[in-house]
């Protein structure tokens, strides 16, 4: 019974391509997040959505666009992939912004 699931787990793609990472939560949570894990394994928030509305949008290139078709899903679409986009991306959800977050297992994106 996966609470927060991300697909795919691994993604290898060429520079310049457009790709999406999907995230779904079955917890009935209102808030979802995308984090990027950098090379030193620190997590930095990219986006936060509450009930399908964007709450936090840190300084990320506009090639990254989150899309929330409903409150159970927050997909991350990346245009014109660059080598520097290679990282692990984590999705998370919480009941509200004050509640504990549940994390997905992460998606390792490799741009070649």
């Amino acid at each position: 019974d996966t609470a927060v699931s991300q697909t795919p787990k691994y993604l290898v793609t060429q520079m310049g391509n457009d790709k999406s990472i999907k995230c779904e939560q079955n917890l009935g949570h209102d808030t979802m997040y995308w984090y990027k894990q950098d090379s030193k394994k620190f997590l930095k928030i990219m986006f936060s959505y509450n009930n399908k509305e964007l709450i936090i949008n840190e300084t990320v290139p506009n090639r990254f666009s989150p899309k929330s078709p409903d409150k159970a899903h927050l997909n991350l679409h990346i245009n014109s992939l660059e080598l520097g986009d290679s990282a692990v991306y984590f999705c998370a959800s919480s009941q509200d912004r004050a509640a504990a977050a549940f994390f997905g297992q992460g998606t390792r994106l490799t741009v070649v």
């Binding site: 894990q37 709450i55 504990a100």
Partner: protein, 116 residues
């Protein structure tokens, strides 16, 4: 398999009390990093500390201190003289270099309530 266990789901203490959050980890590797993150009411994670497996010195940063014990695979976090602003969810995490997925692994978090 790698695993991080935070056995305390929720803790409540009165302001100015000291409180310790437990973290126990499992790993096959001898080289790894451990993290603590804070998730305040605003929702996003805030980095607190990273410790590598070769450095067992305890660390103190203001009211925060961390006790790393390899013998018991624990990396506990103590807040001294707690304040209401410390109320948050705290996550312990493991970065196991032997993990081919190269991802950090989170514990389930401990929700800390500091009562005025």
């Amino acid at each position: 398999a790698q695993k991080v266990t935070q056995a305390q789901t929720e803790i409540s203490v009165v302001e100015k009390e000291d409180v310790t959050l437990d973290c126990v980890y499992e790993t096959r590797d001898t080289t790894y990093y451990l993290f603590w993150y804070k998730q305040p009411p605003s929702g996003e994670l805030v980095f607190l500390i990273r410790r590598n497996s070769f450095d067992e010195q305890n660390e103190i940063s203001g009211r925060y201190s961390w006790n790393f014990q390899k013998s018991t695979s624990s990396f506990n976090f103590t807040i001294t003289a707690s304040q209401v602003v410390d109320s948050a969810v705290y996550f312990c995490a493991l970065d196991d270099w032997a993990d081919r997925d190269d991802k950090i692994i989170f514990g389930k978090g401990t929700r800390l309530h500091i009562l005025p």
